[in-house]
């Protein structure tokens, strides 16, 4: 696949949560090999967009289109979107008591590979990816996110991404709650995952993560819209000056 292929495309996506429109027409094209970042202040609709794209039952896409490798995904249930190659690292991953990290990931990988697939490499794969993310081996037999710290949850989200190896990864505030060492480990994981055939959309409030994972494009989200796009320099400008100047320049407010 050439790096010029469009991998992921959003056309005028509108999202409602509890009968309120919170995403008001987002369009975006991610080509294979690209890293995009959506930056925006709290409440601007970043998580609503990410969750809706993954098929979260609480977020309704009222209009718009979304394509992954040319296939329309919005009619698909979440599991099919995942198997088609979409991944979302959640901002607030849920705990699933009684289901261990290893069993969860085995079931997920098996769902991706198909019921007849050989899973004999699973243990080795899991062990390797856990080591790469400095996750203690004992986490394999712990219940998923049950009693995990914020940082541990974020690492385990990235672990899931590494094991499933999706085409398009949406990472929602994956840097929040991480100390500097953890941030390095996690961004190392993201960089190792990234290649010329896949795409990444970093969703973040701060530009901190962008020091470690270099975006090709930065988009600013305000009030449920992408109001400004640019290169990595835009992130630095936001870091230095905050979001006020974008609000003034565009005449929009941050909150939906």
């Amino acid at each position: 696949m050439s790096h010029r292929t469009t991998l992921f495309e959003l056309k005028d996506i509108h999202v409602e949560v509890e009968d309120k429109e919170v995403v008001k027409g987002v369009s975006l094209k991610v080509k294979a090999g690209e890293v995009h970042a959506i930056m925006g202040p709290n409440g601007s609709g970043k998580s609503s967009l990410s969750n809706a794209l993954m098929g979260h039952p609480g977020y309704e896409i009222t209009s718009g289109e979304a394509y992954l490798q040319g296939h329309s995904i919005l009619e698909m249930p979440p599991d099919e979107r995942s198997r088609a190659g979409l991944f979302l690292a959640f901002q607030y991953p849920l705990a699933v008591p009684g289901v261990t990290v290893a069993n969860f990931l085995r079931a997920a990988l098996k769902a991706h590979r198909g019921p007849e697939a050989d899973m004999s490499d699973f243990r080795r794969l899991l062990k390797r990816e856990m080591a790469a993310l400095s996750i203690d081996p004992s986490f394999a037999t712990r219940y998923l996110n049950d009693g995990f710290s914020g940082g541990e949850k974020k690492r385990v989200e990235i672990l899931q991404m590494s094991v499933l190896n999706p085409k398009m990864a949406l990472l929602d505030e994956t840097d929040s709650g991480l100390d500097i060492d953890a941030l390095k480990t996690v961004s190392g994981g993201i960089n190792r995952f990234h290649n010329a055939d896949n795409g990444i959309l970093l969703v973040t409030h701060y530009q901190r993560l962008l020091n470690y994972v270099q975006p090709d494009f930065v988009h600013v989200m305000l009030g449920g819209r992408l109001v400004k796009s640019g290169g990595p320099e835009l992130a630095l400008k936001l870091e230095e000056n905050g979001y006020d100047w974008v609000e003034q320049e565009t005449g929009l407010t941050a909150e939906v």
């Binding site: 979440p78 959640f90 849920l94 699933v96 289901v99 219940y143």
Partner: protein, 438 residues
Amino acid sequence: MSKSNTDIQIPEAIPELERGPVWLRQRRQSSRQSYNSTPIPQRGLHLWRYTDPQRFVVDRGDASDTVYDENYDRIRQVELKHLESGHLSALVTDLGGREIEFYGIEKLGERGVAVMPVSEAVEKHHDLVERYLYELVSSSVGKFEAMNGALWNDGIFIYVPDGVTVDRPIHLIRELGRTDSVQFPRLLVVVGKNAELTLVDEYGGGAFGTQAGTSYSNGAVEIFGLEGSRTRYVTLQRQSAATTSYLTHRAGIERGASMLTLALAFGGAVTKQNFGVVLNGPGAESKIYGLLFGAGHQHFDNHTLHHHSSGQTRSDIDFKVVLRDRAISAYTGLIRIDPHAKSCEAYQENRNLLLNKGCRAETIPELEILNEDVTCTHGATLGPIDPLMVHYLQSRGIEHREAVRMIVAGFVSDTLRQVPADLRDRISEVVNQRLEHL
């Protein structure tokens, strides 16, 4: 078949009442008298709010059947294999107290462990039987306990001498006939000082369909854990979906003894079970795990009792309920701490997972705490599977059905971990079956 709508009197001269030595016949007769003179509990009164007591009134004259289904043969074969391969210490099959067969008991006998019919134990272990039989489950508990006390045919007696460890489970299968069948199973267990026992007590069989006539079981279980003993008691209800079932279980444990009770229930049309452990000496510890999974129109009514009659005792209950279709469960959990019982710990949790609209669960904690110096917590949850949890699994490619299966399996996993190895496959199989076509 004649299931009357009024009370039925047990006649004075029937064969069951003539069984055993004089003292036993007297106790049977006094149970009969108590049954006859005790009115049917009033619907709506304590412990009868959710289940019609009339369901448990049955004419013992109905008892006739000795036909058992293929499932019984299959399970018997599976457990016999487990016995052969050393996963079990002994296997006992009990057909309505009329035919009780024992497998693998010779080796246990060499170490003084007794596994035998009560009719034999009244001779060989006369003192123990006379001292303990009817001690915890008798007419003083209630009318239906009196019914069992009068009408039980033959029972099972297990005795583990002081200091002896039975390291593999003893497994009992009590099978109800397929048509017009009534049984009154009875079990007496004495675990000696510092002795150790794991016991699986399985209730199966019963009628299928609506044309099958009476299908009724009323059981009594008494377990005595002497000082320093360790007992694991696992009961499995897998009777047919047309069976009416009643069971009263009581265990008494002495100083430093521990008791783990695992109550698994999947079967029965109407099942009322009452599990109780009395903690009689300092250092005694009881843990009760419950797991029931109801489907169709099944109705479950469960009670647990933790009675701290001594200070410095500890009890813990984890009772889990999964329901689907139009199944119903009521759970009443009583913690009683006597006035002089200082420094006790008592915990109780009842969690209910309702897999669809239409099923119903009730949870009633009851506390009778008569000593202030106590650590006690209780809690209950009741509701559907969290749709966001399902979404999380689905977002990783796992299909909806499989996601639900994994979450329910997760919900029950801590409990299933307590299931002895020989039963584990069968229980997982039942759980998986119950999750089909949701």
